[in-house]
């Protein structure tokens, strides 16, 4: 694909940008990998945190979540995890939903779902962190 061949229909600008038919280049792929990498340590923290808290009561759980370090890592975990899953769901939708309209609609709904889960979770964490 390098260099200008005689049957290359792309404009000089399209060749320079190198973004391809998606107009996004490798951005989707790259962000999926980047969040995947971040998710590994963040997930291990989350799992370890839940193990340590297993059986804990209301006050104990609230105090643990209000800890600044825990709250910070939990928020990072939510942002990275939710971003990653939205990207993944987009690929699943693009692969299985044929109709263009339905495809755009389901991707939009998936984005709303992701943002709603994220905002609700982060709001709960901030509420706990800034005094119940």
């Amino acid at each position: 694909m390098s260099g200008k061949s005689s049957n290359d229909m792309r404009t000089p600008m399209a060749r320079v940008r190198g973004l391809g038919s998606s107009h996004e280049g490798t951005q989707h792929f790259w962000r999926q990998r980047l969040t995947a990498l971040a998710n590994i340590p963040l997930t291990l923290f989350f799992v370890g945190f839940l193990i340590a808290l297993n059986g804990a009561g209301f006050a104990e759980v609230r105090a643990a979540l209000a800890n600044p370090f825990v709250a910070l890592v939990m928020i990072l975990f939510l942002i990275s995890g939710l971003y990653h899953m939205r990207l993944g769901m987009q690929v699943i939708i693009e692969d299985y939903v044929i109709s263009e309209g339905l495809k755009l609609l389901t991707i939009a709904l998936s984005t709303f779902f992701t943002v709603a889960v994220g905002v609700a979770s982060i709001f709960a964490l901030l509420k706990l962190a800034f005094g119940g």
Partner: protein, 111 residues
């Protein structure tokens, strides 16, 4: 090939499973009553089954993701190697899930 679709299925399950995380956090931020209710729901047999499945999906998807990172470097794509990695992913995910649950019950003092 089977592992590829399982990676999608576990990813999809984790997607909707975030509702459980959000519900737990909101309950903890709300009231004793809401927190007790969610603890009760998670503690039922069905709740535990769902959480056990969620743990396995998380571990399988994580190991599957690491497998994809190895493939991204161009390594491990040979047929028999790929099959071995697929089995390692499956066995590893089950072992990690069991370890997490044993540790969880130990933290409760139930083991």
């Amino acid at each position: 090939m089977t592992m590829s679709i399982i990676h999608r299925i576990t990813g999809g399950a984790l997607y909707f499973g975030t509702l459980l995380v959000a519900a737990w956090l909101m309950a903890a931020a709300s009231s004793q009553g809401a927190f007790d209710w969610i603890n009760w729901a998670f503690g039922t047999w069905l709740g535990r089954l769902v959480l056990f499945g969620y743990t396995w999906a998380l571990m399988h998807h994580m190991l599957g993701g690491i497998r994809h990172f190895v493939w991204d470097t161009g390594a491990g794509l040979e047929k028999h190697t790929a099959s071995k990695i697929a089995w390692a992913t499956l066995v590893g995910s089950v072992v990690l899930t069991l370890l997490i649950w044993v540790a969880g019950y130990m933290a409760r003092g139930a083991l």
